[in-house]
Amino acid sequence: MDLEAAKVIGAGLAAIGVGAAATGVGNVFGSFLQGALRNPAAADGQQGRLFIGFAAAELLGLISFAVAMIILYAV
């Protein structure tokens, strides 16, 4: 296979991880909303934890984006 073609395919495969992280982030906020609507009084106190979960889920997607960019531009 041509190296250029292999690079583009590899970057595309790495970008799948971004979609997976989108599922994760959606899950974090969705679950938070479910909990918050059942007990609105407790929701405000848990916003810090919400964003910790968001940050952890988002980081993995961003890493796969960085891998795709490294494959495309740096290798």
Partner: protein, 263 residues
């Protein structure tokens, strides 16, 4: 990547990485002390923060709008630090506030459409790994220094979960150790990649607008769609700018909490 179309319009090459290039403004090229566009935009960020803070620190008895804005930001950060670290957290509020303001203003400044003025080009300070890495290393150093200062070698008990059986501890302690060491890296990477990703996305669709207009015919429709898309993504990016600044400050205060209170 050559698109097969028969239009005679000039091909515009998509180059989304150009906006992150560091140019020397004055000083020797390549020297570590050269004054670059990154330094210039850092100074602009500091000037904006200075003006913002000084405008609201007049201590009027009946606060005006400006003072309410400044007090809102300070209260937001000091409440966050208090609730995460506890009463001992007051000492660390200045550092958390500093990184929050610096990251927030430089993120937002990088999103501003200064590009419509020819020759002016906004530079996002936080899109460089060296800058975010340095901020993360300073935060991490505070954690290490405070941890060893307050607890001595007892600080290592951070890696040992209380009440876990011995066999499980053999497994958990190395994992906790690695996840502790990765903290500054993940802190810096998150901010830097989030900024880079948004800017690349906007830039690529900006090129689509130009290419669509050059192609003519159906291209105008694609340009219009891209423009609507950019407007939406721009709004999302403004949200991401604020969330990333908040997450950086929040995680810093959580890590400091680990060092101060050990669980």
């Amino acid at each position: 990547m050559s698109v097969a179309h028969t239009s005679s319009a000039a091909e515009v090459k998509i180059d989304p990485m150009h906006q992150f290039q560091i140019d020397t403004i004055f000083g020797a090229d390549g020297s570590p002390f050269a004054f670059t566009n990154s330094s210039l935009w850092m100074l602009i960020v500091l000037a904006i923060i200075y003006v913002f803070m000084m405008g609201g620190m007049k201590r009027e008895l009946v606060p005006g709008r400006w003072q309410v804005a400044v007090e809102g930001v300070t209260k937001f950060i000091s409440d966050m630090v208090q609730s995460n670290i506890g009463p001992e957290g007051r000492k660390y509020t200045p550092w958390v506030f500093t990184i929050f303001m610096f990251i927030l203003v430089s993120n937002l400044l990088g999103m501003m459409p200064f590009g419509i003025v020819p020759g002016v080009h906004p530079f996002t300070v936080t899109s460089q790994f060296t800058v975010t890495g340095l901020l993360a290393i300073i935060s991490f150093s505070i954690v290490l220094i405070v941890g060893f200062w307050k607890h001595g070698l007892h600080f290592f008990s951070l890696f040992v979960p209380a009440g876990a059986p011995f066999v499980l501890k053999l497994l958990i302690v190395p994992i906790e150790f690695v996840s502790f060491l990765v903290r500054p890296f993940s802190l810096a990477l998150r901010l830097f990649v989030a900024m880079i990703a948004g800017h690349i996305l906007i830039k690529v669709f900006g090129y689509f607008i130009v290419q669509g207009i050059n192609a003519g015919g159906m291209g105008y429709g694609i340009s219009a769609l891209s423009f609507v898309f950019i407007a939406g993504v721009g709004a999302l990016e403004l949200l991401v700018c604020c969330i990333q600044a908040y997450v950086f400050a929040l995680l810093t205060s959580l890590y400091i909490n680990d060092a101060v209170n050990l669980h």
